[in-house]
């Protein structure tokens, strides 16, 4: 049962051209790191620039962009085109559908983001621990983001647009301007993880590691509960009623 759900979800996600195009965005991050390193920067410079590259581009742009596209289409595309009926007409617990969709969307996001961050981090500077720290951060952030975006796709049919607006406005602007909002910023949670796992050069995150992980867990669980509740009461309307 679960294998069939995984297979359908995975094939639906990987068949989308836009998902595959996201792999190119990851490649762009690696390319920037390569070009920068070809300029023979000093060790201190390369550490600083690569850290900022991974934080601002890897965690700040690549991760949320991939997560919003993969997360909102994991269930949202089936809701949009009506194929969700083939899942809902089965004796499958709705929490199981949500969890399988979440795990698949999370893994796809990780595959599209974490290797690119790891590679860019290893190429851009000399400390592999820093690269590893940001890769782990992207994996943790991917789970929180995809849970949020799957829940969003069950709340609104304009999940992609609203998700992009959230990434740009909340994560990009509001959390940057007002320190009080950083407690509920996925990006800040991921940066706290990067600092904790990335060693001395990983920068100074705004949030303490334990606090960031706790809030991240609460947000992820809340999003999962919301998604399950929404899927349990989702209504299908005919084209002609």
């Amino acid at each position: 049962m679960t294998a069939a759900l995984v297979s359908i979800t995975l094939r639906a996600l990987l068949n989308r051209r836009r998902t595959l195009l996201l792999a190119l965005l990851g490649a762009l991050l690696v390319l920037v790191a390569v070009l920068y390193r070809l300029g023979n920067p000093t060790a201190a410079e390369s550490l600083d620039v690569t850290r900022r590259l991974l934080a601002n581009f890897g965690i700040g742009v690549l991760l949320p962009l991939v997560a919003v596209i993969v997360g909102t289409s994991a269930l949202g595309s089936e809701l949009d085109d009506g194929t969700i009926v083939y899942l809902l007409a089965k004796p499958v617990a709705r929490w199981r559908i949500v969890l399988v969709k979440l795990v698949v969307a999370w893994l796809v996001t990780c595959v599209l983001v974490a290797p690119a961050i790891l590679l860019a981090g290893v190429i851009g500077q000399d400390d592999p621990q820093l690269a590893m720290g940001y890769a782990v951060a992207s994996i943790v952030g991917a789970l929180e983001y995809t849970a949020i975006f799957i829940a969003l796709s069950l709340v609104t049919s304009r999940a992609l647009i609203i998700g992009l607006a959230y990434v740009v406005v909340w994560e990009g602007v509001v959390a940057g301007l007002f320190s009080g909002t950083r407690a509920v910023s996925v990006r800040q949670h991921a940066l706290a993880v990067a600092e904790s796992f990335g060693g001395a050069g990983a920068g100074d995150a705004e949030l303490a590691f334990g606090f960031a992980v706790a809030v991240s867990a609460v947000v992820t669980l809340g999003a999962i509960v919301l998604a399950v509740r929404r899927l349990e009461t989702v209504e299908l309307r005919g084209e002609t009623s």
């Binding site: 049962m1 083939y86 007409a89 299908l236």
Partner: protein, 316 residues
């Protein structure tokens, strides 16, 4: 999802869908209005014009839509928010969308796996053969014609051998041969004791297949029961015909004299005849024209659209 362990019918096949005074409204718009009926074993046709509320009704019956009032039960289990009922229900939606990247075999096998069917691949092969899709089963559904998609959807709906099969406009897009094949298949399933409910806006489809008919118009149940009884109601209603002839005035005079004609009207160069006996009038027109010495150029029913037939039923 709740509902696990809720018993369905003790019999392994027979199930009854009960609609208890269900209504569904969207804001101020009432899509289904206080509808009650039971659907048991055999084939029941849900007939109504487009936009009458058939799909809303079917979606409520299949548990995809919450009734605003009333309840739908499969035996004793409400269909809304009880995923367990889908062990007994197969549903074929009207919407064409099917995962385009899967082959029909993969699609039907996935349905079998999601239903926890033992040996899903063998069950999928059986279902595909039942709908006569064997030759195309290993091609991606994205390249299918409408009729082939329809058959793939039917195969997926019956792969777990459901006691109840609900089909929304199942014959859409099928060619006549496929239609006949599908009708034979549904008849065989009904003969086996299954409950089959399908919707259609085409009278002939319902006539050929259903033992029992539910007529829904503007969200209300206008008529229900044996098809022949409803057909008789439809046939015995007042009929209007328009006629064109070489001399409409003389023909009108002649027709007025015959007992089968209730009224004639000459307006804008068009002769309209009203009768309560459709068959007798068609037999009376030619002799009347002969007596009047005029030639009939055209004769056509003025109100034979399904909508007008339905409106008549509603007014009764």
């Amino acid at each position: 999802m709740g509902g696990a362990g809720i018993p369905l019918s003790a019999d392994h096949r027979v199930s009854t869908l009960k609609l208890e005074a269900i209504s569904r409204w969207y804001g101020n718009i009432v899509a289904v209005n206080d509808v009650s009926f039971e659907v048991g074993p055999g084939i029941t046709g849900l007939l109504g014009p487009n936009g009458a509320g058939k799909t809303t009704l079917l979606h409520m019956m299949a548990g995809f839509l919450a009734p605003s009032a009333g309840a739908v039960r499969l035996d004793e289990t409400p269909t809304w928010r009880h995923a367990e009922v889908y062990r007994a229900i197969g549903f074929v939606p009207e919407r064409e969308a099917v995962y385009p990247f899967l082959t029909a075999r993969q699609f039907v096998a996935a349905s079998a796996r999601l239903q926890d069917v033992d040996d899903a691949d063998a069950a999928a092969s059986r279902a595909i053969e039942m709908v006569d899709l064997g030759n195309a089963a290993d091609r991606a559904i994205g390249g299918y014609s409408k009729g082939m998609r329809q058959r793939a959807k039917v195969a997926a709906a019956l792969v777990h051998d459901p006691k109840v099969l609900i089909l929304d406009e199942p014959f859409n897009g099928m060619d006549p041969r496929q239609r006949l094949h599908m009708m034979d298949l549904l008849r065989a399933m009904a003969a086996d004791g299954r409950t089959i409910l399908f919707s259609s806006h085409i009278l002939e489809e319902v006539e050929r297949l259903s033992d029992r008919v539910l007529v829904i118009i503007a969200g209300r149940l206008a008529a229900s029961g044996d098809f022949r009884k409803i057909r008789r109601l439809m046939t015995d209603r007042p009929h209007r015909f328009t006629l064109r002839s070489s001399d409409d005035r003389r023909l009108a005079r002649e027709l007025l004299a015959s007992a089968e004609v209730d009224a004639v009207e000459l307006r804008d160069g068009m002769l309209t005849v009203r009768t309560g006996d459709f068959g007798a009038l068609t037999r009376a027109v030619a002799p009347a024209a002969q007596r009047a010495g005029v030639s009939i150029l055209e004769m056509r029913p003025a109100d034979e659209s399904l909508e007008s037939v339905f409106s008549y039923l509603v007014r009764r």
